[in-house]
Subunit: 318 residues, 2 copies
Amino acid sequence: MNARQVGVDLGGTTFTVALVDREGRIDFKSEHDTLAHEGSEAVMGRIAAAIRELLEQAGVKPSELTGIGLGMPGLHDRERGVCIYASNLQWRDVPVRDRFQQWFDVPVVIENDVRCAALGERHFGAGRGVDDMVLVTLGTGVGGAVIMGGKLQRGDGFAGEVGHQTIDPDGMLCSCGNRGCLESYAGAIGIVRRARAAYARRPSDRLREVAGKDLAHLTPKHLSEAAVAGDETARWILSETGRYLGIGLANVVSLLHPKRIVVGGGVARAGDLILSALREEISRRVPYGMDTTEVVLAELGPAAGVIGASTLVWSAVA
Amino acid sequence: MNARQVGVDLGGTTFTVALVDREGRIDFKSEHDTLAHEGSEAVMGRIAAAIRELLEQAGVKPSELTGIGLGMPGLHDRERGVCIYASNLQWRDVPVRDRFQQWFDVPVVIENDVRCAALGERHFGAGRGVDDMVLVTLGTGVGGAVIMGGKLQRGDGFAGEVGHQTIDPDGMLCSCGNRGCLESYAGAIGIVRRARAAYARRPSDRLREVAGKDLAHLTPKHLSEAAVAGDETARWILSETGRYLGIGLANVVSLLHPKRIVVGGGVARAGDLILSALREEISRRVPYGMDTTEVVLAELGPAAGVIGASTLVWSAVA
């Protein structure tokens, strides 16, 4: 079966468009600069041009297209297909669906990008066959999406903010204004902050080799590399990250008892350096936790976004 | 329309049977001792006898009955109608549905008791018309049930354990083995423990008047009474209870963003003595929290259990 759905993954810096088939296979894909400062009309126009180019490359006529699924950050009115607010795009009340429907005359569905990634993993990745699944994405922030009873759950709009759970009532101040959010410990910024504090007390040549002398550009990836090379402090910081995540995900298990928790995002590439401690912490906090809820790595990588967005066109889960 | 569904609310000490109509009105109701020590067959036999008596009183023939909904504590296999485990009844693998179907020849559905209360509130109480709702029950423990997308969510069985969220990673040891569970602060035992500690430092004649001289039988109800009578320490303890609950419920809002949180159970009778601080804490921790999620008191009282159980027979929410 030929790919007939377009998935779009729109981020603050770049966007990706892809032609995806019903088995989640990407036929054609291209990546472009978002240039958000040019405004929503210009960005949408550029996305439309990229889609047309894609169809041409693939030899798919616009009339053969079954629909366009569009994932982007922020809060959306799904019924009206309007992006209510997306801070890193500076969009407010942008009628995304109407615009693309005018241009392509096919069904257009918009959804939050993390939820799109969850749909991608649910259909074709680490969440296959599971009706109760929570996705956690580890990147600059800690994002999340909840699928329960075989349906994406949005609640009143913001459901899935795994990273803004309080894990320490009087803890670190978070960018959201709360204290002690999981994200302020286990997001990339939190990880780097904890690492800097630890290395200030105990400098490491191994880390300097991968991250540079003054650690000015230190990232979680450097810590993974140093940890693999045997650096004890890096191992400790990543395992502490797992423990913090385990506290938050133990709460997810208590509240939702999902069959599977899928951990994605760039920072998750650290794998067991984070996941071992994470699983242990869930076991410590929920007696039945790790016997019943699996914690696994995401499978689709950065493509989860476009693949998931393409499923918006036909999926019952969305 | 006449009441044609039987609801049963089976607890460790007493059970209630009621004939309930499709508008949630109780036509006939009776309460009995559970006598759990006599074993599951004896208890089920006593429930069946109570149901027969009820039908007779109401002039309803067994053949006119549309079904029996049975709420009880513990974990159940809903598909097979088996109570897998209920600690305060000492039941293990009890084939509840088969037994009652043999006796009454009508559909029999079993469900966890807190979830039944949630169904009751959802259909006929404080959750009317709301598809995304979380019930929290404040009693000896802190229980919960989750309705999302218009469906009761069970996850892999234990979904809804609001009280076993960690709100302080290194906090009080909880009966479940975890540290810092919400329940160990905001359950009746936790409330009384905090109150004893506070009054040890600052004795109160007002409290002694309602709770006795040595506070040996102190309950949250005594604290409410003393608070209403102007006792500052009691007010503080209850408001602290609200703050603890607010931390846990802020997490619920972050994760599920329900339209409504319904607070029930005996301790909730303290009303705004707890709820004011609770709402304030949610506002502090979730920027959009109290603008979008309502926190309201349950409306059905202890009858929520039998009423909700009766809806198991016909409800699409269950």
